[in-house]
Symmetry: C2
């Protein structure tokens, strides 16, 4: 058996290690989840919310400890990480509230007519979900992040595959959740964790695992997607992966190059450039002086924090070299600390003609690395945009509502991205009912789905329609009288949920996010 | 170049033939669809409805001609086929009305707060959709069937891959639709058709084709799904495929074996057993006399009509032989006509122990062939049900609301099927808001989706969220004031659509369905 060693990115020293899970341990985790699934599914979302709110409270109560542990494994800084603990707690509460509203249940009723039967549709939780969290947001997209929180809220037990970038934190987070859930009376097996690459593959292949959530690299996500597609019973893999997110500055939007440069540098260096929404490509009008302003800004920017892992740092250095080989030129660089998984902040520039299909310049470099490209005409800009891969987010910096170029750019970005941001940088994903954090292939394996926002729950359920069934034989959620008080579609007309308080322990006791 | 020969299943004579499409023709069809896509997407659903209603009118106006042509190619009988023309017309109207309600647009608005931006989500039509219709319902699931009608309603152009079982009808149907659409002012390229297996593969691999709808065999559907998964940009394949649909008769439900037998025989022989909802497995209590009653009923049942194609007829004969080799025994048979693609109606029986994973008895035989299995105990019944593949529909025949076994059977069927029917046979799929015609893998490639019912439109769209965008730069559907009057989610609260008449030509001029 192997083990995951936990490294301190600041200096490369070892924090400790966690042994890989055995096959027996993986089977036990899945069996426990399978046993918990029916009780989770049958419990009203307003009642399940008590459990998830309890986990949120436990997170916030352990905020300092968790942030310190995470910083030792990720070098993301305790201030940012403390905020992220609050954010993860807020997510658990948000998805609990969304579940109580019940859109994900898809309740629809067609009343019987003289010629047609009564139909009552109820979406059912899929059962055990395997979650492969991200390295770059150890709380918000980690073991207890969006995938886990939305799956639990939808009524599915979760088996977390711990990320090798922060194995000690993964252990601690799931222990904390298990303790909170046990105290709150949730079934055993509601959440558990496994370690090691073999355990991850075993999870995806396990007959009782019904869906997979993944956040990370294209290589990792597509490998899991292929493994799931080879099962006897194929299950969905919802992988949110990295691609290049473009930001277009229109001619009218380029009037203040220093302001653009300041926003751009702040955005692409956030978290040492390890955001899936990082602007990897800045498209600016020729001659507007944006590239020079970026170089100037970078000259006044401190050294970046080290990257999450040695392999990410190595890939970043290799990526810059590959981009140079693909026709880009380094225009500004901020040397890294030199210690641990250090990296240089690097801005390159390339001619628009170099951005052709298959170019390394159109692939993500997961680091504080970004490319500035000048376009000479709207035709050239359109050409570059049309050759981009699908992405999570595209942004446009404009001259305001009268900007003649902006509507066309917005429309074109909408064909490539899951989110189009106007006069705002792409990093930062607000959590709400309308949010969509997804995008066309290969930004995700399932462009219709989101990993952030109320609709994230939709990934973990499957419709079943009951034809002419007596009320007592229906799942509670779909019975006449709407006992769970959720939103429904009755004979084609949408009914809002009956607003009632979630039965949770005082939410006011925990921080807002 | 090859050609699709059209056969008359009654006697095996040739009706005519249609030449396979060339690569140039496939490219031209996709290019025309691609050109039409923006106009379709930008036209309000209430206005698009005019176009689809016009197609429905044209179908009904040509009802006699179409039914006669279809009968020559399918042997399904003109009475049934005339009704199916009405049904297909009704589907076009239904999906038009559903699009006007607008759930598929997923409009959601999060108002800006002090700390979060305004978000406005709008689902966008995917663009050109390739539809591979079914052979067994040449109108309802054919070239202008559910997949085509729902894709058009959602605002996507459609390229139909003509089914080789009815190539002449496919040509005629698409011509008819094109003529109607041209007269109504819809863009060229809204619908077109291609012929031949190579053209079908080219469609699925074409970079401009954004999604695939398929209804048919597991072999065909999974081949397309694999081909789509090998694209540079993978696209979804929504395949609805054949599996064995179980019907359970509880102890209390078996009190009148003759009634059970009559319903069963009628159901599994409908359309010569060529329904995707055919009951392929009847599970009856030991000693209740149901098998004998079925044999008795079959002795008074006329010869079945021939099957759709020679290959289906050959597969049916082979299937019965394979089932016998897998431990089943023929208990009753009605000889076929002997002419054309004739088939025997066949009922087999097998011990419950023979229904093990991988057995031929757990795979579909697309013909008037079904298997009766007696179970000795509820444990034995549970065991059989747990070993079934995912299926479109399961049914239970009960002793009424006090039946002690029925709730457990309903719950177990819900884990295997997309629809659970109570005291009604599984054949027949009502069209409505709540309907779900789908099911767990391998009944479909996408168990979250349906090919029948209001939610069928959801397959053909993709979310995009606009962050802080001026109203004028948004797609009309998502603008403030809700100009399309569709259902929305505003700050977490569902709003019903503003009910307004669809701007269609007098719907009363066409038959009800």
């Amino acid at each position: 058996m192997g083990a995951s060693r936990s490294f301190r990115p600041y200096d490369g020293t070892v924090n400790g290690s966690v042994e890989d899970s055995t096959t027996v341990e993986v089977d036990a985790a899945v069996a426990a989840a399978t046993a918990a699934a029916p009780q989770l599914a049958a419990t009203p979302p307003r009642r399940r919310a008590v459990w998830w709110y309890t986990v949120a409270q436990a997170l916030v109560a352990a905020q300092d400890e968790l942030a310190a542990l995470a910083d030792a494994e990720t070098a993301l800084g305790t201030a940012r990480l403390e905020g992220e603990v609050d954010r993860a707690a807020g997510q658990l509460r948000f998805y609990s509230d969304v579940a109580a509203e019940g859109s994900h249940l898809g309740i629809a009723v067609d009343s019987a007519t003289e010629t047609t039967p009564e139909l009552r549709r109820v979406h059912q939780p899929l059962g055990p979900v395997a979650v492969f969290g991200a390295s770059n947001f150890p709380f918000a997209f980690g073991s207890l992040g969006h995938d886990t929180a939305s799956a639990l809220a939808a009524g599915c037990p979760v088996i977390v595959k711990a990320h090798p970038a922060h194995p000690l934190l993964s252990v601690r987070l799931v222990e904390l959740a298990q303790d909170a859930l046990a105290a709150a009376g949730a079934p055993d097996g509601t959440i558990s964790t496994v370690h090691g690459m073999a355990a991850g593959v075993a999870l995806v292949q396990h007959p009782q695992v019904r869906a997979v959530g993944f956040t990370g690299s294209q290589g990792g996500g597509l490998a899991l997607w292929r493994a799931a597609n080879e099962r006897d019973v194929v299950v969905p893999v919802f992988a949110e992966m990295g691609t290049v997110n473009p930001v277009v500055v229109t001619a009218a939007g380029a009037s203040d190059p220093a302001r653009i440069a300041a926003g751009y540098v702040e955005s692409f260096t956030l978290g040492s450039g390890q955001f899936c929404t990082k602007p990897g490509l800045l498209l600016v009008p020729s001659g507007a002086g944006v590239a020079a302003a970026v170089a100037d800004r970078l000259a006044r920017t401190p050294a970046p924090a080290p990257l999450l892992t040695r392999s990410i740092a190595e890939a970043a250095a290799g990526g810059v070299a590959d981009m140079a080989a693909a026709g880009a030129r380094v225009v500004a660089r901020v040397p890294g600390t030199g210690a641990g998984w250090a990296v240089d902040t690097t801005v390159l520039t390339a001619p628009a003609a170099a951005l052709t299909g298959g170019s390394r310049l159109l692939e993500e470099c997961f680091a504080p690395v970004s490319v500035v490209v000048e376009y000479a005409s709207s035709e050239e800009l359109d050409g570059v945009l049309s050759r981009l891969q699908g992405c999570l987010v595209g942004a446009v910096m404009t001259g305001g509502e009268s900007d003649p170029d902006a509507p066309r750019v917005v429309a074109q970005l909408a064909t490539k991205a899951g989110r189009v941001a106007v006069d705002t940088w792409p990093t930062g994903v607000a959590l709400g009912w309308a949010q969509h954090h997804g995008g066309p292939w290969p930004a995700t394996t399932s462009p219709a789905h989101t990993s952030v926002g109320a609709s994230a729950l939709a990934r973990w359920v499957r419709p079943v329609v009951y034809q002419s069934a007596p009320a007592a034989w229906l799942p509670d959620a779909g019975r006449p009288g709407n006992p769970w008080g959720v939103t429904r579609c009755v004979d084609g007309v949408r009914e809002p949920a009956r607003r009632a308080e979630v039965d949770h322990p005082a939410a006011s006791g925990s921080s807002a996010s």
